[in-house]
């Protein structure tokens, strides 16, 4: 069999950790090959090796059967390898075309950039693969899903035959995921080969041909997707059985913890995105918010946590008005927040894990006394949390930046849940986590609930919302348009409610 890419017995070490230990992956032409593994298993590292960002200590890479030494991303591009990173690398103030040609600009005879030629070429590529990208749009004006397509175009424009996707669906909404999957299929129809990193087994089952599994840096094996099932994949990856259905008792909600009345919040463009929202969450229940991205969920959370001012309305926590207080006052009155964007809000990437663990508590005893930090206490706490939450890191002194995406997320969750706040807000908490970690996080959320805390869960994953919530609030156009019981609904019905249509017999009455 002819392989387009072969990575044979690759080994890559980082200080204190072997990220890739003798891993082999072989990619056939025209296939979609999944790369599956727990958080920190070494997937991104392996792909960064292939893309020339890291040099392996051992092993061999072959492109179309020929041994190659990929010393830089430019070399990878020359060999027809392109990569779509999880965190996009685009210039916000440039147009799509400008971003795509950056570093590879077509020239006119006079030496100036031939932007018209570039635009035409990009339009052609976009049409051919069904990407529907506007070459003249500014990056800052287009959605995350569109930005991802610009990244795809960037690789195609550079002549990529092999495309690497690192968790492309983690940042997308369900609708965008559907579209991406169509794009992936059309890419392979045109003869491209794809390596896809994802934690979502459903996606692997849907589009992939083969799947290579790695566990703790070691290659476990490669299976044909047609001959396997999600349960088997999960247990291969984690090394034990994984429970997909979260076990939980019936909720015993008590008094109101959070009460929101007639809330209005503007977004950064000064347009109301939350428009007269009412919501309450009681002690001992998990309320899930279902909604299509952009219907005011982020603004709602930011206003509860004090990161954004509410224009009008009242937010009460334990019967105390907390509307428009400072983030610190709100945190201190008992709110924890797992933010949606972990790199922007959740972590100071240049701080160590230990320093990040005390991000909201550093000024309190025992982490500091008379304004002087006690690093021993700080790192002790961090040691405890990384054990409890299985954060895989060489040490608590390692910079947050060096952790794998999923392990960064686990550190944040550990920090927020450990404070055991009266109201825990979890926004896309399991984004980028492996199935084992998701199971664990869900358990933790339910544990908090059983301790009598209120939990607000926002997620685009309807599975997650249906599995974990005790009540589901559907958000549409800045309002809660329906409250439904997860036992009595399903994805179809939720989908319709989220699109703004009314369903008979449902409504605000439920659960209030």
């Amino acid at each position: 069999m002819e392989y387009v890419i072969e990575m044979l017995n690759i080994r890559k070490e980082f200080p204190g950790i072997i990220a890739n230990d003798n891993i082999t992956i072989q990619l056939k032409k025209g296939e979609i090959h999944a790369l599956l593994g727990e958080n920190g298993a070494g997937k991104s590292t392996l792909m960064n090796v292939l893309f020339g960002l890291y040099q392996p200590e051992k092993g061999e890479i072959r492109v179309n059967g020929k041994k190659e030494n990929i010393t830089s991303p430019n070399k990878a591009n020359d060999l027809g390898i392109g990569m779509v990173h999880q965190h996009f690398m685009l210039v916000e103030s440039f147009t799509v075309t400008q971003n795509i040609v950056l570093g590879k600009e077509p020239r006119k005879k006079t030496g100036t950039i031939d932007i018209d030629k570039a635009r035409k070429e990009i339009q052609e590529l976009s049409d051919r693969y069904g990407l529907r990208v506007d070459p003249d749009a500014k990056i800052s004006d287009i959605s995350v899903g569109m930005q991802q397509r610009v990244e795809i175009l960037k690789t195609l424009y550079r002549g990529a035959e092999v495309l690497i996707f690192d968790e492309p669906t983690a940042v997308l909404t369900p609708q965008e995921i559907k579209e991406l999957i169509e794009i992936l299929k059309s890419l392979t129809r045109e003869g491209k080969s794809i390596i896809l990193i994802t934690h979502k087994l459903k996606e692997i089952m849907e589009v992939c041909d083969t799947c290579t599994i790695i566990r703790k840096g070691k290659g476990i094996g490669t299976v044909k997707v047609a001959e396997t099932n999600p349960i088997e994949l999960a247990s291969l990856m984690v090394g034990r059985e994984v429970n997909f259905k979260t076990e939980k008792k019936v909720a015993e909600p008590k008094e109101n913890v959070l009460e929101i009345e007639n809330l209005y919040v503007k977004d950064s463009r000064k347009v109301d995105l939350v428009k007269g929202l009412d919501l309450n969450i009681r002690a001992g229940e998990i309320v899930g918010i279902a909604g299509v991205d952009g219907n005011g969920q982020s603004e709602l959370i930011e206003s509860i946590t004090g990161l954004r001012k509410a224009r009008s309305g009242v937010i009460k926590l334990n019967n105390k008005d907390i509307t428009n207080l400072s983030p610190r006052k709100i945190t201190e009155s008992g709110v924890g927040h797992i933010p949606e964007d972990r790199h922007r809000f959740g972590l100071v990437l240049d701080y160590s894990i230990g320093e990040n663990i005390v991000l909201q508590t550093y000024y309190k005893k025992p982490y500091s006394k008379v304004k002087i930090l006690n690093y021993k206490e700080i790192f002790n706490k961090a040691e405890q949390l990384i054990k409890e939450y299985d954060v895989r890191t060489p040490s608590v002194y390692t910079k947050a930046r060096a952790l794998s995406g999923g392990n960064q997320q686990k550190a944040i969750i550990g920090r927020e849940v450990d404070r055991s706040p009266d109201l825990l807000i979890a926004a896309q908490p399991t984004r980028g986590l492996d199935v084992g970690a998701i199971e664990f996080i869900h358990k933790k959320l339910i544990e908090e609930r059983d301790k009598g805390k209120a939990v607000l869960l926002v997620s685009f994953e309807l599975d997650e919302i249906l599995n974990v919530s005790d009540r589901i609030a559907v958000m549409f156009d800045g309002k809660v348009v329906a409250i439904v019981n997860p036992e009595e609904t399903n994805e179809q019905e939720l989908g319709m409610l989220m699109a703004g249509s009314k369903v008979n017999g449902m409504g605000e009455a439920n659960g209030k």
């Binding site: 946590t305 809000f345 990437l349 909201q360």
Partner: protein, 348 residues
Amino acid sequence: MANKRLITFLIPIISVILGLIAGAIIMLVSGYNPIVGYTALWNGAFGDSYTIGETVRRTTPYILTGLSIAFAFRSGLFNIGAEGQVIVGWLAAIWVGLAVDAPMIIHLPLAILASVAAGALWSFVPGILKAKLGVHEVIVTIMMNYIALFSANEIIRSVLTDGATTTEPISATASLASPWLQSITFYSRMHYGILIALFAAVIMWFIIERTTLGYELKAVGYNKHASKYAGMNVSKNIVLTMVISGGFAGLAGAMEGLGTYGTISVMSGNINIGFDGIAVALLGANNPFAVVFAAFLFGALKEGAGEMPTGAGVPTELVDIIIALIIFFVASSYIIRWALLRFKKGEK
């Protein structure tokens, strides 16, 4: 990790060496003997106890302006206004030195504090404008430099003197001059200020690395959004950073006023201690102790430069070129870092 540290440590040193080599080449090309030139530079900086004393004297304010800029930089702020803060600090110290009558134990600390307060006040303005209105601190601090220069000149002429260009010397009770240090350095102008400057480096290290304030300042410098999320008051931190940074620079003014000169004179233009501090902070990679070494290097180069025309016939401007080259190499540290990593790979 250890490797990265080592590289961070090596970069300034390699930059200095490269700067000196490039300077030698320039001397050769312009027809001077670099060995004679550098010997003169060395003698000018460390030739005898007098020049050593003068080198230390020059180093003292550089340490403080270097710390000032490094401190602001750790929080992501660019304090171009150290120059003006030095001037107001100098002026305030002299003013107190002249106007107050008190025993040394009160008078000297008072004059020093006045310089710190003046520098802090001067940087409070750009700080508050940045925090409240988002006005970029670089623009405001540059403007404040001119305001400081011309106001100080006017005050010297019409308040501190009757139209003269230099004030009376301050009273001995406010002076940092040290007859003992002078006597062991053959009557250089070396003064006790060096101890204050070294102590200030320790203070900065302590604030940045050990206090909750330092934790907040660094967090704001690294990631404003996460700091806000964590409940830190970003505006307050901006103002506080600027104020502390200005305090260090103001103190540098006291070194000149209370230590070296004992007077203040009308200035025709920039005194450059503040601007050179930017280079010192850059060379010291914003680390307080490295800043001390960088300041010492600058002090030595500037002091030694004086000997180059007489000792070797080389114009002093050449030293400015060497300093500029060193900064150039530090600024292009990326290339050095890359070369070092390459070199290490090759070894393996």
